[in-house]
Symmetry: C2
Subunit: 474 residues, 2 copies
């Protein structure tokens, strides 16, 4: 079988191979290995100067941005990239941060709409949850939510639901970043039937995840009207002990203000403040019905606020005093809320709506500007979760949570101002690539870590069960 | 050259051909030719009973819907369709009707935002228009707008701009349906420098198009504060003479109310009514600042209203009293306004915003319901343009303006209620097929009558010119 020609060919290959190695060796002194190079797009940094680098690049090594610049600067470098994304005709942005949602509730998307809040909760949401929310439901729902978020350019989300440990597993596996708050209440919920059980579950959950690079576990007492004072203090103490965030709904609807007044002869913010509950680790969802003094309290205590304009409109809850909060120095981000009330996890629509709604409410077309609206969804959100040193802008040294937005669509043509385009005209479907922690989770609109078909199929199975459960109930 | 084998082959072909004809002849008694059959989808009729035919079909011959039903009914028919659209997993709806836009202004998309209305108009829009709006500009802009509208499932639009004759030609060529109002004002505009010229141009335009199956020409006096009483009467008389619609902006912003009060000691609606201007042929855009009495006037005169929620929010104009208008029996549709102020021609976002905004403003989560919001964009719009007998619902005998919406996306999974999904979760990009007057204008998201690449390229050329013109100006 031995053949002199094969030997000769092998020798030729070896020489060729040697030459290639030698050439690479020659370059080794000047070429620098990077894991990911995104090049040719407009880099919308969202930094303090709102810099936009036209025809720019972002270089990533490991989980960090190690370099950025324009085309001329890139020419002076000699990067050898494992992965390259060509972003010509596209914008490169920090990933969006959704500061409030209930991810698995995507499985209840559109189950009931256009109803009075009490009717919606008591006739649909609570029965649907009581009959359907299991660990398996949460797994299927989280996967569906993750797919929707990654497809829409969300790279970090703040959650509040049950079986949060399962949500953490799914989120980690998909490669997403999240602050995950295990919801605790004074009454039995799908995963824990007593307060004691809930505290035990939550502490184990915190211990398991508190050093994870992607998952930040959190304690999520539902609201001041569903968790008593003693339990609120316990929840806060648990969070302090493990140095993790606290997620809560505060002052969402007028009914809460009424209830707090009747029951505690106080309003939610001062009531919580007197308990010592309001600290820099608190992420307060909604925060619609707060007066000037309460806004000053939120600022003084460094509470972060998750503003959810679309959910608040749809449930007729009101409009959060965003301008006053920003003026007072409160950290504010945007949230979609759960898909049972919104009915999607689309941050682009929240950004667009926030910009338009606050112009209307303030009777001032100059506030909220497009740039300010986009800040809420990026660096604003990062501040809310106390991660502004790592997230929310594209800057050297920050974590590589990056999205690429295709500007080629008809609805984005022509182009004069990038902020205007991103806020008033871009859609979630224009996001072409999503990168979290340096890892590509979506490339050219194809999910890299999740199986979209399998996720949809599983969701439809739960749809059947949920529909059946509502028929069988009252 | 004669060859016995060719003769033989030809004889065989003739026999085969005869057999095929014979077979078709046999079927002729039972099979019925149709031009288009859309089958397998959920037919959302938007008719008086809000019927939804699950697994339904719509059959089209020429420009009309000739039959509709469910799968069982289709089995009893024997349609031979020239074209078939498989709509399994999709919804089949009447096309959306955009009751107010300025189509060519897509070329100014995002040119200036977040500004005070006066600054926006005087520093950007008016100079940009004065320096750039030519017939060629209008042609390129209309094509871009048509592409965006067809991609988003709009099948009819109401326009108001200059060189409307060119807009009509482009619209007709693309196969879209439109009410096109030539804008006339007391001061010189890009296409006509005097009122006399404008009247001459407009009359020729009306004469050219008034019997067209797709184009309804109209007269569009800009607003009561930009067209004097005598000219308003002339415009209305011209419309009467040719039996065409009148398009106008009424009571858009508080500044108009102030101006009318100062100049005419009256408010816009009573002022126009005293002139005899308000008739059933009037399509009134915005109509935000109208009181109860004025709403009764609009209802009594059968004026149609184009409600533009997003534009009104973005320019901080206010919120039109939609609930009161509907209760009074005013015909109301939805409009995007021009892309210089919105910044796209996306009817799905107007529908979604309308549903949420009126819940907030009315402090009532039950109004506007998803079904009612979708009605505004379909049958509501048809009533505004007095075409409710032909358009706005899917019913046998109506014109075949139909869209197909793909329900397979992650953000539309799972599915409990179709109205909720279409209003709160569906996006323009979910529209897969657009049919106008029985003709397919988009199939599987590919435009059939327009060249998307060429349109984008032309738009970018105008972008250069517009940017340059603003730099060269002040």
């Amino acid at each position: 079988m031995f053949n002199i020609r094969i030997l000769f060919a092998a020798r030729k290959s070896a020489i060729l191979l040697f030459a290639v190695f030698a050439l690479q060796g020659c370059n080794a002194s000047s070429s620098e290995p990077v894991d990911l190079l995104i090049r040719g797009g407009a880099v919308v940094t969202m930094d303090g100067d709102s810099r936009i680098l036209e025809n720019g690049y972002v270089a990533v090594r490991g989980d960090r941005i190690i370099d950025m610049g324009d085309a001329a600067q890139l020419q002076t470098k000699n990067y050898r990239a494992k992965e390259t994304i060509d972003a010509h005709g596209k914008a490169i942005l920090p990933g969006l941060i959704n500061t409030h949602t209930h991810a698995p509730m995507v499985l209840f998307r559109g189950i009931s709409d256009d109803l009075d809040l009490q009717e919606w909760l008591t006739k649909y949401i609570f029965p649907a949850e009581a009959r359907n929310v299991t660990r398996e439901f949460v797994v299927a729902g989280t996967r569906l939510a993750l797919a929707e978020m990654i497809l829409g350019g969300t790279t970090t989300y703040v959650d509040m639901y049950y079986f949060e440990d399962a949500i953490a597993e799914e989120t980690k596996q998909a490669g997403m970043r999240a602050v995950l708050g295990e919801t605790v209440l004074d009454f039995p919920v799908p995963d824990n039937k007593t307060w004691g059980d809930a505290m035990t579950y939550t502490e184990a959950f915190l211990l398991r995840w508190k050093n994870d690079p992607l998952i930040t576990p959190a304690v999520a007492p539902h609201a001041p009207y569903t968790v008593n004072a003693d339990h609120l203090k316990q929840a806060q103490a648990l969070a302090e002990r493990h140095d993790v965030p606290v997620v809560i709904h505060i002052a969402e609807a007028p009914t809460e203000t009424e209830y707090m007044s009747k029951t505690y002869n106080d309003r939610s913010v001062p009531y919580l403040d007197k308990l010592g509950f309001l600290t820099g680790r608190v992420i307060s969802a909604h925060t619609v019905h707060v007066n000037e003094e309460e806004i000053r309290t939120l600022a003084a205590r460094a509470v972060g606020v998750a503003h959810c304009p679309q959910s608040n409109m749809k449930l007729a809850s009101g409009v959060a005093p965003l301008r006053a909060m920003l003026q007072a120095g409160v950290a504010v981000g945007l949230g979609t809320d759960g898909a049972a009330s919104n009915n999607d996890l689309n941050m682009w629509e929240e950004i667009d709506t926030a910009a338009k709604l606050h112009k209307l409410i303030n009777n001032d077309p100059t506030f909220l500007s497009a740039r300010e609206a986009l800040e809420l969804a990026t660096i604003g959100g990062a501040r809310v979760i106390n991660r502004e040193k790592d997230l929310g802008t594209l800057e050297v040294g920050k974590l590589a949570d990056i999205i690429v937005v295709d500007l080629d669509a008809v609805h984005l043509t022509p182009r004069y101002n990038l902020f205007s385009h991103l806020v008033y005209a871009a859609k979630a479907t224009d996001v072409s690539d999503t990168i979290v922690n340096g890892k590509i989770l979506m490339r050219g609109r194809k999910l890299a870590t999740l199986d979209e078909g399998a996720i949809r199929a599983a969701a439809r199975q739960f749809q059947e069960r949920v529909s059946q459960s509502l028929k069988n109930g009252n």
